[in-house]
């Protein structure tokens, strides 16, 4: 994880589905290709949603974790 530099953080905490995904789509366009986007969310469904979203769009889910009800995703923009 130490080699990952976060280019931007998206705070999607307390947002309901599908806003975390819709906002991620916008945010990823605002970072460079190869850069990393960090997303914070509280929607438990986001775990499977972000896996589906990265699978569908081809961006890379570099890391994800959960701590105290806060989900953290690191996505690498690949294109």
């Amino acid at each position: 994880m130490s080699n990952i530099k976060i280019a931007k953080t998206l705070d999607a905490r307390n947002l309901s589905c599908p806003l975390p995904i819709l906002k991620t789509k916008k945010a990823i366009a605002e970072i460079g290709i190869g850069d990393f986007l960090e997303i914070l969310a509280t929607d438990p469904g986001s775990e499977s949603d972000f896996q589906a979203w990265t699978k569908s769009t081809g961006h890379e889910l570099a890391d994800h974790s959960q701590d105290g009800g806060i989900y953290r995703y690191i996505i690498k923009r690949t294109k």
Binding site: N14, L15, S16, C17, P18, L19, I21, L22, T24, K25, A52, W53, S56, T57, G58, K79
Partner: protein
Amino acid sequence: MSEKKKRIAIIASKADIPGAYPPLLLATTAAAMDYEVSIFFTFFGLNLLKKKKLKKVKITPAGETAMPMPIPQVVGMLPGMTAMATKMMKSWMKKANVATLQELMDIAIESGVELIACEMTKSVMRIKDKQLIDGCTPGGAATFLEYASEAEITLFI
């Protein structure tokens, strides 16, 4: 991506809160997932394309047996009950930070979702083009079927 985009075709036939949300939620999410998206607005669903209509979308408690309001069904038919149920539903949705229908429609337009207004419905309900939001295109059953025949997902809502 240079490869062919996946495609989803949605029919929106309702214009109350439980009927209006699913097409717009799924369309915006599909667009965010790089799908090509088309929504065909027909029957009451066409109301969703009317200007300034989205704020006025309601829910009626009569017939919504799953609505968590502690009232008998017949009371739900009384004057004022639809307004009350709509207010309650909207406040729950706001508390849960659910996007508004207008926000979803704005995102849909911004992300290139194709909005097809059913021509037949327009004539039946005497809706003029100038009453509809900019950016929707006219179409009929054949338009939808031709598009849907190439879609991975087709939904009727």
